[in-house]
């Protein structure tokens, strides 16, 4: 092959382009690249010959050559993309399977014990206890508005009490109107609104579910966690009923030797409000590190539904009263299984998952 000259550049480009386009697969394209690009290719020879030119002419020729080269490289990349896509499509075609024709009898699955998740089983056990006590079970959405999560629960905007819940807000609508629920209590509002609209009071329900708080995860909390909430709205319901239900639940779930007690607390949606504590399940009340030597551990919050909440949902307080309570499913799970670090839940290590039944 005679030494190429710059005059032949256009021709060289055209040739290269057509060769690239003609490549039918990756191997051909690789071979083609060497010819266009390799040490002995016309382009490289031209590049070398630039040295013989005067500086001015060299600059001009260099840039012409460069742009020609670029066009070839672009075509190469394009072709590479087309071929790869084709190969992928061909692979997909080779893989094609009509799932309607699957013969189940041909599938041989290995024998292995399956396991439900720790949260799910804990939740199921709690549900069973409450169903046994006459409660129904309700669900609610995880993405809520400020009305359901806060305001109808007697926590108006900018109320200092909002600081009790670090909230994840969702970029939707007006700022801070849409959020990830920080507790299961909004489900109470849904239930009461529905019961009023459909005239189906009374309510005796528990509401389990996933909630979110903007807390950096640590051994005891994940930013996503699970609560179970209870609500009773009926005639003649008193604080004594609340204390009785908490006590009955405590005995049913934790065992007959565990008891409960209430102490004053503040929740905007209940009045009177209480925090409920149970006998430390580790030391059975003797006092240990877990319960800070008190013999008691805090489990959750409860109280009589605040008149402001009943007003928000339109329940007649001259006829109905009610109580609500809530606590962490995760915490029950952690206590029951003695899990040192709750972050293990999100890790999903098989060796962890296989321990629950």
């Amino acid at each position: 092959m005679s030494k190429p000259t710059l005059d032949q550049l256009e021709e060289l480009v055209a040739q290269a382009l057509s060769r690239i386009e003609a490549c039918a697969n990756g191997d051909e394209l690789t071979a083609c690249e060497a010819e266009v690009h390799g040490k002995r290719s016309a382009f490289t020879q031209l590049q070398r010959s630039l040295g013989e030119l005067e500086p001015e002419a060299r600059r001009e020729a260099g840039s012409t050559l460069q742009s020609a080269r670029r066009r070839v490289l672009d075509a190469y990349a394009r072709r590479e993309g087309v071929l790869a896509e084709g190969e992928r499509q061909a692979q997909y075609e080779a893989d094609r399977l009509d799932l309607g024709d699957v013969v189940a009898a041909h599938v041989r699955l290995p024998l292995r014990a399956g396991h439900p998740g720790i949260i799910a089983t804990t939740q199921a056990t709690l549900e069973d206890v409450f169903v046994g006590m006459g409660f129904t079970i309700a669900d609610g959405p995880q993405i809520e508005t400020d009305w359901y999560n806060f305001e109808a629960l007697n926590i108006p905007p900018a109320h200092p009490a909002r600081g009790m819940w670090d909230t994840f807000y969702v970029e939707l609508g007006e700022p801070e109107t849409v959020l990830l629920r920080t507790h299961t209590s909004p489900t109470q509002i849904h239930l009461m609104e529905e019961a009023v609209a459909n005239d189906t009071l009374p309510i005796h329900a528990v509401m389990p579910g996933r909630c979110f708080r903007r807390d950096t995860p640590d051994a005891r909390h994940l930013a996503a966690f699970h609560q179970i909430e209870g609500l009773v709205v009926d005639e003649g319901i008193t604080f004594a009923d609340l204390a009785g239900v908490i006590e009955k639940f405590t005995k049913e779930y934790f065992g007959p030797e565990i008891t409960s007690r209430l102490r004053p607390a503040y929740f905007p949606f209940t009045e009177p409000s209480a925090e409920f504590e149970i006998t430390c399940t580790l030391c059975r009340g003797a006092g240990c590190r877990t319960c800070s030597q008190t013999g008691w551990i805090e489990l959750g919050g409860c109280g009589m539904v605040d008149p402001a909440v009943f007003a928000a949902v339109g329940i007649d307080t001259s006829r109905y009263s009610g109580f609500a309570f809530g606590f962490g499913i995760d915490r029950c799970a952690q206590m029951r299984h003695g899990i040192a670090d709750m972050r293990a839940i999100a890790d999903n290590d098989v060796r962890f998952l296989e321990q629950f039944s």
């Binding site: 009509d98 290995p110 998740g117 006459g134 959405p141 807000y169 102490r263």
Partner: protein
């Protein structure tokens, strides 16, 4: 809030039993987070004078020190370097037990015996200074052998770390806590404050309120002849025990009063307040203030918060220049300095919500804002001012309190709430007499009149959290119950006629879970929030439900699918050598309202009056099948097990192109055969995605996928169930034969099977057992081999009946262009 027991005792007589007090505080709703014994362990520490200091051979970090502690020279090895011969330092002799249960023993270092330890402030629990020994030379009456506690004039104290509930403005002060304790012990409060008189001098200071709805009252005292110095040691010690740092006697007096009485006050240096005027007004939008912490803040601009109008309340001087952010933090310009000699003291009541909003918007919380946003006791303002002057006079005795200037805005009304014993027992389920209820409420400074069974209660200014009307009644009943003790209230297990029951959804979840577990699968738990990238893998065109304030970018988008999360969980296990598993999850995913065909509207906005468009949430079950031989085929087989377990009437797999994240040519929609509702999807993960989500997977590993929309599965209108009427299987022998049918690719096996099943009432079952394509079959068809089982309930089928049935079956097949294999194709 940290409260020393000795401070409480200034107000109320209390027993010595700390455990009892702890328990009582808890029971009053003043939860004790911790109890600290301050000064305990210092009983044995004495003052020692340094007599000699010698280097120890071969040691450059410790020295041999001879000290005199009143009973002859003692040899000590000491690592501190900040003292000289003649200095007085604390000595913990051998046998002393320092705070933190640190017992001092005889030690030998580099051949030198140490007969005790010379201590730093930190080692004694008396400060943070750990840079060297605590030097005692400045203390009055210091001499070797003197017990340290005597020198410092402190006695051991107990500090309760109380975490008051958010509704209790009164509990943020020693006095408020004392009031609750007095109620529990049925005793009286005695105020240690001495009355201080204002001088008759002519006041130069003035006060004004131009925003009466933001500031209910403003008192400004002019205090002359102030000498700024350190506070007396007992003031410093109380502040430190309460967790505050001593600054100077003026600031300390202000903090002392706040801790004691819950009333924040603010001292200004008169020299830096133009016109000696303290005014309160609303901030203009865009006004700038440099607060005490040195930060420049722009005021009066609405923030992001719902209902935030951008109202800030500010303190101004006579030139209308902003010198403080009312109720939150003072300005840097007028702070108390060493040369301050006249002080203006501001004592005010600010509107709680205004302070709460400003403090939230500016991200600025202070001890003062904390109290103002809960509502300070406005009837306590003058007493607080009096106490400030008194406390300041302890260290600056020649001060003169010139007449206080007073300006009034709008103060909250103190409601009068009626509550009857009937209402008390209706809410509590425990009877409490009118007299007992009145007695308890009076401890809280409530004005109570009893008429028969009804109490008429005027709410005290110290309890602005108590509302009016029905809500106020509940608030008062809580106070009665609290002071009465929750533990004394009755308990009753209520009964009602409604039966407890799992919801249909609950039962469905339980079936799905138990079936999955029965198949050997493991239930996983993946986060609801993920990264942009992971979202895009399965939903490249979807609108993201984005979190405004995520903790991390990897957790900023609400998931629209659980496939990637589960695949990553599988991958982590596979990397740990445990990949031969199936993971499943039952959880919620959401679709942005922009992309949702059915809009979900909910009440939202201020007072719930606006309609807000919300993402629609779906409960789904997602399965990632990652065992060695798993693929779309095992996913389909698994689906059939689940469909059987759920007793679904009939479902079809509709072959289609897999969406993003799914294998494009190994994918089918699961639909109800009658309603055509889409129940879910089955297939494999897109092999192109494996590099990303499971980079260390075996070459050729496929991940089977199954996703069920539980909302649809649970809807019996959309997904039909098998009839409950159950035919008893025939006792007569069945006839079995196979039919291999060459079927066009366009006809699905399930369609053909369904047609065969319906062809004759003697067909008991039709099972696909083999699929064959290629060979001499046409390219657009395959052979489907079915095992056919015929039976009749009341007889044994004879040969003629079987032949007829077979013909009918072939006819049904022909209707779908399926021909018996081997028969000539038309």
């Amino acid at each position: 809030m940290k409260i020393p027991l000795s401070w409480l005792r200034d107000f109320v007589d209390l027993p010595d039993d700390v455990t009892l007090l702890h328990e009582i505080l808890d029971d009053l709703g003043l939860v004790v987070e911790g109890v600290e014994n301050v000064g305990a362990g210092l009983e044995d520490v004495v003052v020692a004078r340094v007599e000699e200091i010698h280097a120890i051979e071969g040691a450059d970090r410790i020295r041999r020190v001879i000290v005199e502690a009143g009973a002859g020279p003692i040899e000590i090895v000491c690592g501190a370097m900040n003292f000289e011969v003649g200095n007085h330092v604390p000595l913990a002799p051998v046998g002393a037990v320092l705070p933190g249960n640190f017992e001092i023993a005889l030690r030998k270092m580099r051949g030198v015996t140490s007969n005790g330890m010379l201590c730093s402030g930190k080692e004694l629990g008396l400060g943070d200074d750990h840079n060297g020994l605590m030097l005692l030379d400045g203390f009055e009456g210091v001499h070797p052998g003197l017990p340290l506690l005597e020198l410092l004039r402190v006695s051991a104290d107990v500090v309760f770390d109380i975490s008051p509930e958010g509704n209790r403005p009164d509990a943020w002060s020693v006095m408020g806590v004392a009031r609750d304790l007095a109620a529990r012990f049925s005793t009286t409060i005695h105020d240690p404050a001495q009355r201080v008189s204002e001088s008759g001098g002519t006041a130069r200071a003035s006060a004004s309120i131009t925003a009466p709805e933001l500031c209910g009252q403003l008192l400004v005292a002019e205090i002359r002849g102030v000498v700024v110095s350190d506070s007396p040691s007992h003031v410093v010690r109380r502040l430190e025990m309460a967790g505050m740092r001593a600054i100077n006697n003026v600031v300390d007096a202000s903090n002392y009063v706040m801790l004691e009485r819950g009333q924040p006050t603010h001292p200004y240096d008169v020299a830096h307040v133009a016109g000696q005027h303290i005014g309160v007004r609303q901030a203009q939008p865009g006004e700038i203030l440099v607060t005490l912490d040195g930060v420049e803040r722009e005021l009066g601009r609405p923030g992001r918060g719902l209902g935030d109008t951008g109202v800030d309340c500010v303190i101004v001087d006579s030139k209308d220049c902003v010198i403080g952010l009312a109720g939150i933090m003072g300005g840097a310009s007028s702070e108390i300095r060493a040369d301050t000699c006249e002080v203006l003291l501001e004592v005010a009541y600010f509107d709680p919500m205004t302070i709460a909003r400003s403090s939230k918007r500016l991200g600025l919380r202070s001890e003062a804002s904390h109290r103002f946003e809960r509502g300070v006791d406005f009837n306590n303002a003058h007493a607080a001012m009096n106490r400030f002057v008194e406390v300041l006079s302890w260290s600056s005795p020649d001060i003169e309190w010139v007449r206080t200037q007073h300006s009034e805005g709008i103060l909250p009304e103190l409601p009068v709430v009626a509550v009857s014993t009937l209402e008390i027992s209706a809410l509590l389920g425990t009877d409490i007499s009118a007299d007992e209820a009145a007695r308890l409420l009076r401890f809280l400074n409530c004005e109570v009149t009893v008429a028969g069974e009804t109490l008429s209660v005027r709410v005290p200014s110290s309890r602005l959290d108590i509302r009016s009307g029905e809500a106020g009644r509940a608030d008062l009943i809580e106070e009665i119950a609290r002071l009465y003790s929750y533990r004394r209230l009755g308990r009753r297990t209520p009964t009602w006629t409604q039966a407890g029951a799992w919801s249909a959804r609950q039962n469905l979840r339980r079936s799905l879970r138990s079936t999955s577990v029965g198949m050997g699968w493991l239930e996983a738990w993946t986060p609801s929030l993920g990264s942009d990238e992971d979202f895009e893998l399965t939903n490249p065109l979807g609108t993201k439900i984005r979190i405004t304030n995520p903790l991390a970018a990897e957790e900023s988008v609400f998931r629209s699918s659980m496939v990637i999360g589960l695949a990553r969980a599988w991958s982590r296990n596979q990397e740990r050598g445990n990949g031969d598993v199936v993971l499943f999850e039952i959880g919620s995913v959401a679709v942005h309202p922009n992309d949702a065909p059915v809009k979900r509207l909910a009440r939202g906005g201020n007072a719930g009056v606006q309609e807000v468009l919300l993402p629609s949430e779906h409960e789904v079950m997602t399965v990632v099948l990652g065992r060695v031989d798993d693929d779309a085929v095992s996913a389909v087989a698994s689906w059939r097990v689940i469909a059987g377990r759920l007793a679904l009437a009939d479902t079809d797999l509709v072959q289609s192109t897999g969406p993003a994240g799914w294998h494009p040519t190994r994918y089918a929609l699961i639909v109800d055969a009658s309603t055509r509702a889409v129940i879910g999807r089955v297939g494999e993960i897109d092999p192109a995605l494996m590099v990303n989500v499971a980079p260390k997977a075996r070459v050729g590993q496929r991940l089977g996928l199954l996703e069920l929309d539980i909302d649809v599965v649970g809807d019996s209108q959309q997904v039909l169930r098998r009839s409950l009427t159950t035919p008893v299987p025939s006792k007569f022998p069945a006839v079995l034969f196979d039919l291999a049918l060459v079927t066009p690719l366009s006809v699905s096996a399930s369609t053909l099977a369904r047609s065969l099943r319906a062809a004759s009432d003697v067909v008991e079952s039709v099972e696909l057992f083999d699929v064959f394509s290629g060979g001499n079959l046409p390219p657009d068809a395959r052979s489907l081999a079915f095992a056919i089982r015929l039976s009749a309930r009341d007889r044994t089928l004879d040969e003629a009946e079987v032949m007829t049935a077979r013909a009918v079956l072939l006819q049904a097949a022909a209707g779908l262009h399926a021909e018996l294999r081997g028969a000539p194709l038309l």
